[in-house]
């Protein structure tokens, strides 16, 4: 079997936000490998650090964020140590990013076509005439009707879905190798969500992109992902292939999340939920961070933090009692 090439390698990344109430440890020792050509999903609840992790890759964190340690290797280059100028070249050309809220992601004072055209002008020194033609073509490719006409419109005349399409057009004109999509469909309604996901999937195959998809929606995970990383309270608790995650989750948190998916309910029983709320990242619990909410908690969980270990081929989990969790899942 061909050994997949590692495109993005995050090693022991720790990020905190400095706030008036102390240091919020948003990402605590995350290690992650994303292979070239795959769709990797980062899943987790709101505030678990997945967006922080995503923003850290192209170094777009807000000014109060501090990267405490770690490295992010992209094609062998450490993005955390590369010069600003070099990074600026990589952004948009090699690494692109789509954001959660398309309504505010476009500059309200410039025409949409102009904004898309700016990217190849910046990176390929393309002439404006040529870049505008490229922009129109790209807007057409992402499914904007009448791209020639609409490229001359301002963003406020676009709907949410169209804005997100325009963002995707903007981010893919230079055919980057890595596209980070931070909850690209959260702000859109369900029918548009499906279309945007389909579009991302198509573009991924067409351009040979690697897609890092951040989401809290397991429906999306099931639909488009190859591999899944589950985050909880700033840590990765489980990494596995998508089928494996759904069929045999080994971390109680992953299992809990999957049980929450409405479509998986067997009868008209109450919707499953994970009791409690995610811990404060200012002062996380001792041992395993999930232990206060975990059904499988043992004394060991409170005392010692589990490490992320490969328990099966391509299946990593950070849990002391994964055998029990896996066992229950199979029997039911």
């Amino acid at each position: 079997m061909r050994v997949p090439e590692v495109l993005l390698n995050v090693r022991d990344l720790r990020i905190c936000y400095e706030t008036s109430r102390g240091c919020v440890k948003a990402v605590e020792g995350v290690s992650l490998e994303v292979y070239a050509g795959e769709t990797f999903c980062l899943v987790g609840e709101t505030g678990c650090g997945k967006s922080t992790l995503a923003l850290a890759i192209p170094r777009l964190l807000p000014p109060n964020a501090r990267i405490l340690s770690g490295s992010i290797l992209f094609k062998g280059v450490d993005l955390l140590r590369v010069s600003d100028r070099k990074l600026q070249e990589l952004r948009g050309k090699e690494i692109a990013m789509i954001f959660q809220n398309p309504m505010t992601s476009l500059n309200p004072v410039h025409r949409v076509g102009f904004q898309v055209a700016e990217v190849p002008v910046t990176h390929f020194k393309m002439s404006w005439r040529e870049a505008l033609a490229t922009a129109v073509r790209q807007l057409g490719r992402v499914g904007i009707a009448d791209p020639d006409l609409r490229s001359r419109d301002y963003p406020h005349t676009f709907s949410g879905g169209m804005k997100q399409r325009s963002m995707i057009a903007m981010m893919t004109t230079c055919k980057p190798s890595l596209l980070i999509a931070d909850e690209p469909t959260t702000a859109l309604d369900v029918t548009i969500q499906a279309q945007i996901l389909k579009l991302l999937h198509e573009l991924k195959n067409e351009y040979g992109l690697t897609l890092l998809l951040i989401t809290h929606n397991f429906g999306i995970v099931a639909e488009v992902c190859d591999r899944v990383g589950v985050m909880y309270a700033g840590k990765i608790v489980e990494v596995a292939d998508v089928t494996e995650v759904f069929e045999a989750p080994l971390h109680p948190y992953t299992k809990g999340l999957i049980d929450c998916v409405v479509a998986r309910r067997k009868s008209k029983s109450r919707l499953n939920q994970i009791p409690g709320t995610p811990p404060s990242l200012l002062n996380p619990p001792t041992g395993c961070r999930f232990h206060p909410r975990c059904a499988y908690v043992t004394y060991e969980c409170v005392r010692e933090e589990p490490r992320l270990i490969e328990v099966r081929k391509n299946h990593l989990v950070a849990c002391h009692n994964y055998e029990k969790v896996g066992g229950v899942s199979w029997s039911s």
């Binding site: 000014p63 952004r91 948009g92 809220n101 500059n107 309200p108 025409r111 990176h123 981010m171």
Partner: protein, 289 residues
């Protein structure tokens, strides 16, 4: 073509224009300003005399059909001098605003964009400047540079760019929090490009309003300095200088000071009215984002 003029007109200006035309005081200001502009531009045609034409036989004559605003102590026609003076007042007002914005806007952008210690430094300088009484500081600068209209423009610009920095900085801070700035960085735009292509166009509306509102104060400052003898030197028909010359004859020939004073007031008023109207018209658009 890319910048389709018809589209621009139909999309934006119409809405602003429609709102503006409903604004009575704004329209009054615009008419008044147009009048000032008109006399300034056509001074060569409408002035009955040259502004420096001395006539010793007709000194300090009251307003009459021949000299509608009267004559001054050297027998010069005050109406002609005021008409030519409009050129100076408007030109100086415009120049000061351009220089002020030229200093203030980039500083505000830099402060808001980079934040941190850069912001602290720029804000400290701005606040310090703000704390000075502007006329006193301007006087000090003109004293150093020497009298003359150019030096007055420099002095007034130096003392009053602070509002631009404040306004632009505040607006920049609010824009920096918007996602399209992160998006711009994500596609590899440089800081300079983000500042001038993304942030600046979004701060234009408040800058325009501020500019129209600072022109009258610029005109008032420069005429004040001229009145004090630091600005335009005789025989330049500067309104401030005319006031200064007229003050010696205030009881004997009040028209020497009344008319320049009136025109200073009217010009300042026209800009104020216009500025207020622009603020009212442009603000709701800002709120919509």
């Amino acid at each position: 073509m890319w910048f389709n003029k018809e589209r621009i007109r139909s999309l934006e200006s119409n809405e602003v224009l429609r709102l503006f035309l409903k604004h009575k005081r704004g329209v009054a200001g615009l008419i008044l300003l147009s009048f000032m502009l008109f006399i300034a531009l056509t001074a060569d045609f409408i002035a009955p005399k040259r502004f420096d034409e001395v006539d010793p036989s007709s000194r300090l004559l009251p307003p009459s059909t021949e000299h509608i605003f009267g004559t001054d102590q050297l027998g010069r026609d005050i109406f002609s001098r005021i008409v030519y003076g409009a050129r100076i007042a408007l030109w100086v007002g415009l120049l000061v605003v351009v220089v002020e914005a030229g200093i203030g806007v980039p500083l505000g952008l830099i402060a808001g964009y980079y934040g941190g210690s850069v912001d602290k430094l720029i804000s400290a300088i701005t606040d310090m400047l703000w704390a000075f009484p502007p006329i006193i500081l301007a006087l000090a600068i003109v004293t150093i540079l020497g009298p003359g209209l150019t030096n007055v423009v420099i002095a007034v610009s130096i003392v009053s760019w602070a509002p631009y920095t404040r306004v632009v900085r505040a607006k920049t801070l609010s824009i920096m929090g918007r996602e399209f700035i992160t998006a711009a960085r994500a596609v590899g735009e440089s800081s300079l490009s983000i500042m001038f292509r993304y942030v600046l166009p979004n701060t234009l509306a408040p800058i325009i309003v501020l500019a129209t509102l600072t022109i009258p104060s610029a005109i008032l400052y420069t005429t004040a300095l001229s009145f004090l003898g630091f600005g335009a030197q005789p025989p330049t028909p500067d309104w401030g200088a005319m006031l200064n010359e007229g003050k010696d004859y205030i009881f004997k020939a009040p028209w020497c000071s009344i008319f320049p004073g009136l025109f200073i007031t009217l010009t300042a008023l026209s800009f104020n009215l216009l500025g207020d109207a622009l603020r009212d018209v442009l603000d709701p658009k800002l709120r919509l984002g």
